[in-house]
Symmetry: D2
Amino acid sequence: MVRIGILGASGYIGGELLRLLLQHPEVEVTAASSRRYAGEYVFRVHPNLRGMTELQFSPNDASKVIAGSDLVFAALPHGESVKIVPQIADAGLRVVDLSADFRLSDRGQYPNWYGYDHPRADLLEKFVYSIPEINREKVKGATLVSSPGCMAITAILALAPLLKEKSLGIDRDHIIVDAKVGSSGAGGKPSLATHFSERFNVVRPYKPAGHRHSAEVEQVLEAMAGEKVKVSMSAHAVNMVRGILVTSHVFTAGAVKPIDVWKAYRSMYTGSYFVRLVRDKNGPFRLPDPKLVIGSNFCDVGFEIEERTGRLVALSATDNLVKGAAGNAIQSMNLMLGFDEKTGLAMAPLHPV
Amino acid sequence: MVRIGILGASGYIGGELLRLLLQHPEVEVTAASSRRYAGEYVFRVHPNLRGMTELQFSPNDASKVIAGSDLVFAALPHGESVKIVPQIADAGLRVVDLSADFRLSDRGQYPNWYGYDHPRADLLEKFVYSIPEINREKVKGATLVSSPGCMAITAILALAPLLKEKSLGIDRDHIIVDAKVGSSGAGGKPSLATHFSERFNVVRPYKPAGHRHSAEVEQVLEAMAGEKVKVSMSAHAVNMVRGILVTSHVFTAGAVKPIDVWKAYRSMYTGSYFVRLVRDKNGPFRLPDPKLVIGSNFCDVGFEIEERTGRLVALSATDNLVKGAAGNAIQSMNLMLGFDEKTGLAMAPLHPV
Amino acid sequence: MVRIGILGASGYIGGELLRLLLQHPEVEVTAASSRRYAGEYVFRVHPNLRGMTELQFSPNDASKVIAGSDLVFAALPHGESVKIVPQIADAGLRVVDLSADFRLSDRGQYPNWYGYDHPRADLLEKFVYSIPEINREKVKGATLVSSPGCMAITAILALAPLLKEKSLGIDRDHIIVDAKVGSSGAGGKPSLATHFSERFNVVRPYKPAGHRHSAEVEQVLEAMAGEKVKVSMSAHAVNMVRGILVTSHVFTAGAVKPIDVWKAYRSMYTGSYFVRLVRDKNGPFRLPDPKLVIGSNFCDVGFEIEERTGRLVALSATDNLVKGAAGNAIQSMNLMLGFDEKTGLAMAPLHPV
Amino acid sequence: MVRIGILGASGYIGGELLRLLLQHPEVEVTAASSRRYAGEYVFRVHPNLRGMTELQFSPNDASKVIAGSDLVFAALPHGESVKIVPQIADAGLRVVDLSADFRLSDRGQYPNWYGYDHPRADLLEKFVYSIPEINREKVKGATLVSSPGCMAITAILALAPLLKEKSLGIDRDHIIVDAKVGSSGAGGKPSLATHFSERFNVVRPYKPAGHRHSAEVEQVLEAMAGEKVKVSMSAHAVNMVRGILVTSHVFTAGAVKPIDVWKAYRSMYTGSYFVRLVRDKNGPFRLPDPKLVIGSNFCDVGFEIEERTGRLVALSATDNLVKGAAGNAIQSMNLMLGFDEKTGLAMAPLHPV
């Protein structure tokens, strides 16, 4: 059994890592750290796990985690991860980091988007930004992996094949990413904005411009296109806990047919179990909807074409805590450790829920 | 008291007309028709009105409605209204039509968007497409009025001032209207798509391209711009009953400052009680959100600028059954009849709800 | 215009008093106090009121409120009201208190239920516990009024007529009050328990035994029955913001017929506009449901009889912020000031919402 | 691999059986029948299963199912199951029936509760009503098993130990079962009552008296108590899709201490993985709440004592589609086939969701 440590295990992403890893057949969770809840039983904070584990939170102490683990997941806030993960990486352990601290390969981007100078440009080069459906082989060989933001991965899985396929003629200056997200993406800290009476029933445009995930989306799309790309992202909070729908509006140089778009998606995703192409003729399930992936590691991708305006609307849906976070991280771990990438992740979504 | 007839009074828009008109101080509802529920008490279908009216539904019989009314609201489905409203108009009664059948002034558009040849081009010329905040004077003089679709009016109130203000340099080819709507806009007819277990928790892209409301939005925006405009609309069903948020993504020729956008909005909306400009510095209420207009005739409008990508994000929120339908229709009626436009409509939104 | 002061105007009940009183034709709000938000615009805290008032919160300063008001609503927390209200009462102003501090006439109950010794037993005698449908005449003559708790008034309106009608033979030892309440009843203060991700989708038994509202319900029911009554109350938080359903399970000595129960209800509520008796033969609206009273001052009451077990199930539904709090308080004010009790309160519920 | 046939596989319980059995390591689903969807791909009806199975629905044809299966789950409506299951039982196959048609051992109860004369009293004797936590040994030896109704099993798991433990002195004439249930328990058929706009935000008392599940609850509790028991059940629809909370109000002869209740529960449930006793000192997770079992086979059980009124409030929560239906049925199958009862069922609940 591979020994797993989790840093920042009391947040929602930490809880999801625990839920999935406690049932993973090839690993054993040896440490789950939390600054705030050190000493507390895990199931008091993650009540779903009551009766399933007697684990207690340990402090966020790198040296202890290093001693007891073979691979470490870091689910710490941005700016915190960069303070502790280098020590673990330097000790030679495998790391899967779920913060933004190792996602951008260009050190110069950190002051702009995250407000700090990155202290370890050398590590930025070594971390692989992991979306197995896009760069599976690189992940297999990696010891240090950075897992994307939930909106970013959802947008990228819909857009990367379109940007890669030059014949579609995607206008790289007018790429709109309009995201609708559940509350769990915002974490577990109470505030007026998350107070139930204020948060219920909203469609709240909480970040209509300047969203940080734009940076990682552009980084990947530029790699696909081989050219500069501008991504215009807007994020809205909607009335649910789990799930993201990303509606990507792009424009094509000329007329585009469904078969052309299909080809772009299939050429990238054939053999990728966790991306489902969804485009039925009719019915309420004919296009991606986060409701239909809840609890699973699937990303559903679909599209529609509007000839009249030259627009291609790409749609993608994930459970933000699974494929949008913990699931993609564990899928990456599976590849790093030589397991089948589906190990411990092949559960079906719940429906209805 | 002005005598009011309502055709199609058993639907959700009909119910909202009843809720508002039964409490309007200057009018009296003399007929509420319904093909399906003729003879039934109104409060059996609109249970909120129990104890407030002993009215019964009458059949959809134009001649009877004509005999007993001074002004008629038609809340019939598209394609049905056009069969009965001409008779009422020809009889010289005032009409406020809430269907799409008299919204487009260009007869040639009906086959494209609604699949039928319009039989009365003469009436299309006479009907005023009414958004009082935009064409109040024309509505005052009208006897025949067409009230906009809920997504259309919400989008138009955010976009019209921007297109009118030429100095903003809005790119007329890349106007994205991404709408998030509650279930009540889809009406009261049960189906698998509206079955609670299937509809709860969705972010369902039910019309990502080709939405019919595009036509009316383009019609108004072209009048504002004095030039051709292309509107790319996508509609999503979200997990709530009432409310619409429209996120409009547009691009500007050069750099634009907040003060410039403010000016455009103020020059159009100063003096218009029902449009509220919402752009606070912080807090969960700093931008429009349908939660904050529920039960009222307000349309909240706000915006953000993304310099990096040259994007202006305009946000607008309405209660789709009030300012998005019955409220705007009654506001139009108030103007047609010479009342203050706020009469019977100045109720505050509910909060929290 | 009667001048109205509101103490504790920044909470949800304070907001609802403002929403209703700003539109009340006979009064004028001259002060809205808040310890926390003194100096802030009211519409920053109650965003629904944006554009409807330029009022700012004042400090909770009794002497200033006394100087500028004819009648004061106190919407302060339990234990706070008792510190400031006596001063206002002693100054001879009319008071409507919405806390529990003046609800129980027996001073001896305060240590048990609220954990403090009541300092002003003399005032407890003078305050009228006001449910106009039950003691309208007493309220008319009162200058000091205490308005019930939201669960209490909802339960009482279903149970009082049953206890009063001796021929029904209600078993006074087995009265179960099972309440299901929206989040707004718990106020506006964020916590882990009210954090959206934790509060959404719950049916949380937050007070299954020992609920404080038991005391006021027993007080009223004992007055009705003329004998000791034991009320067993349980409160559950459900997935909505507004509304309460109370399911009261009682047992009858012998067989009871619907007509007998009807009579009990009608003999108490005939002429009371705000109580609607709801018991249709079929359809989804056949029994009380808080969804159908949202935004209104109605309390819907209905029942079913289970012969096999000798049980009578009484059902009652209110909007907890209106008839459950601010609406009932304003209805009481109307009576105290000699207005029609419906003044400013006759708005229809929203449907659907 | 044991070959499994599912009759009535297109409903929500059928879908949940498929979700769980497709991932069960010891069985293989060989047939999934549906009268309505015969010939259709399973994933068109259960969109969560897209990409996970190429199975198509077959007709509800008993002889074919018999030929290809070793064990059959029948998830048919009441009254339908009794027409087809006897044929399968007579053919010697193992059966797990999820309808009410074989739940009551007393043939005389069927006309009262289900409106038909039961044609096969001989089978009623052979079917074991299966709640493994209560009668595990009987289930192990059974070939014909009947799985309880979702409200019934949830109520029984909270009440059975209390009725069995005579020293608690439970009053058998005043047992109130107040259930709050999600929409999925009502199945997948659209109607006005389940139309999203009408069903959202409700607390609807849809069956306040005379609920059919009373019969099975009484049957089990009488077996526990060895005496007559009267159960007074009320069912409410609340604003969620999955989950049931049952609040059981019972009265005790004398004073009861928490330790006594603990003992009753522990003596029945020690060793039963799927019942979790939940009674923390504080926090939002201190008592059972369906939110905390969603997606799992757990039933959480807790309680509070109200000395003042002599009341004991027992609380129990399940996912109605899992422990309330498909999960309990598969747990029963595991026992019948000699597998560990947890096989394929040990997944953690989702949290938050």
